[in-house]
Amino acid sequence: MWSRDRWQEMFYTLRKNKLRTALSGFTVAMGIFIFVLLFGFGNGLKNSFETFFLDDSTNTLWLYPGLTEKPYRGFKAKRRIIFRNDDLTDIQQNFAFFIQYMTPRISRGALVKHGKESNNYTIRGVAPGHQFAEKSIITKGRYINQNDIIKKTKYATIGRLVEKDLFGNRSALGQNIDISGVSFKVVGVFEDEGGDNEERLIYISYTTRQQLEKSNDRVDQIIVAFRPELGHAGALAFEKKLSAFMRKKHVVAANDRSGIYMRNVATDLKETQQFASILQLIVSFVGLGTLLAGIIGISNIMVYVVKERTKELGIRKAIGATPKAVVGMILHESVFITTMAGYAGLLAGVGTLALIGDSLEEFFIINPYISTNTAIGATLVLIVFGALAGYIPARRASKIKPIIALRDE
């Protein structure tokens, strides 16, 4: 198998039959190239999908008050449910065991000014725990802290793009900004992987927000983070208990989804992950299809190659080539070509993916890639099938009697 003579004979044959060599090599290289590209795109799609859904903490329950849709215990439908500060303390007291942290959120739009620059932003009144719920990354200064809550300070933590909008390249830290006519001092700047909108937010203490609104004690929504060690089942149980507690307190029917709406990110996450695995399935399917097309291409080429060489093989047999030698020669050639061409296609595909990089982000393809194992596995599959596709016609050719192969057309 590895004798030098045999390699020499093979290289000679390949060199002297450039068209044939190029044709079969091209099919294989193309098959692998397209496979790598499609598979990489599929992975890129998955990546962008994950950044959409996974920039927030996954162990949180979100509670939203709304209008009841059902009459209950003497109350008419369409009654507005309002969360207040005592809901926060009640939840904290009754469910301390389950809770990692919790935070209210009060969102208001406001015109924000600094010097001559001004813009409209969403201002969120929050507690310190909110930083973890949103996975905000502090790059300068600090987030809103417990002291801000107690003292109702006029401090603000602003998003990266707010700083850019209002301060240009200067640092906003320690500067004052004007939020709807009230001056706040910037104590921190944050970044967020959730995209531009998430970085055009301003966080202030929720107690400050309440004080600005005639010292009321209302909160818009409550975000409760449960301990991650509860697991999915524990989280569902906690969600059920919390839901029952809040519905009893606010006199809302158990099946009234509008009065108090609860969103469990853990459940969302599970659905998201299911969708992601379906996406993976589609990607794999596309990949397999491409691979199959490649295999069929190689098989066709091999049948053609062997057919074209029938006479040559007949001559070789007449002057002493054994059937084994004939099969061995064709296999040796086909495996060599598919290996080389497959490798070339692999490199070209991976190179193209690297070149594309994040340039297709607007088509929801982020960082397309293919794992080394998948790529090499696919190449091996093509090589094996290329050999098989060559073997079958080669075997048939090796069995043809020389006189039939040599018969003049």
Binding site: D5, Q8, E9, Y12, T13, K16, N17, K311, E312, G314, I315, R316, K317, A318, I319, G320, A321, T322, P323, K324, A325, S398, K399, K401, P402, I403, L406, D408
Partner: protein
Amino acid sequence: MIKIADLHKSYAMGQNSLHVLKGINFDVAAGEMVAIMGSSGSGKSTLLNILGMLDVADQGTYNLDGATIKDLDETKAAVYRNKFLGFVFQSFNLISYKTALENVMLPLYYQKVARKERIARAQKFLEQVGLGPWASHHPNELSGGQKQRVAIARALVSEPKVILADEPTGALDSKTSYELMDVLQTINDQGITLLIVTHEEDIAKMCKRIVHLRDGVIVTDEKVKQVKAIQHVE
């Protein structure tokens, strides 16, 4: 050298079967030069193919240099062909992408002879057929007569006992044919047994024995006085 007895061969032609060889008895001694003649369809090529182990008989015995040729599988047949026989075909059957020298080297490749020795031996036989200077030419750069001489060198290179030639002059003009017969006669003079299928009377007369086949049986088998081809070559 060759002993065949009661050789039968038929081909299936759809529903009918065509009985081509109907009991051939035929001996060839070492060093003979036999012409097998007959009109087309007489079975002469079939006989040669069976002798060359390119085809198998339905019935009868075949003995080549003391070995009984029977129930050969493809691998064994290939080895025997390589060791005992050389072939010359009407249409030359050279491999087009190999040079003259490489074509001649090929049988030795299958005998696993080392490359250096392959080259040396192939070169020697190319020179013997007068094509030394054409060693690096491809078949499409050679004339019909030259191609056939390359084929003869290829048949000779494995130093066979018998050379089987199927209409070796069939594709050549008469002058080239005589030159080629001269080469074959020289080979025969060196002791190699030659069987030549032909339908040309003058070519047959350059052999030492003429066998006539008709409808699958031998009708005449006679020794003749060999005409030297060199007389016709000027």
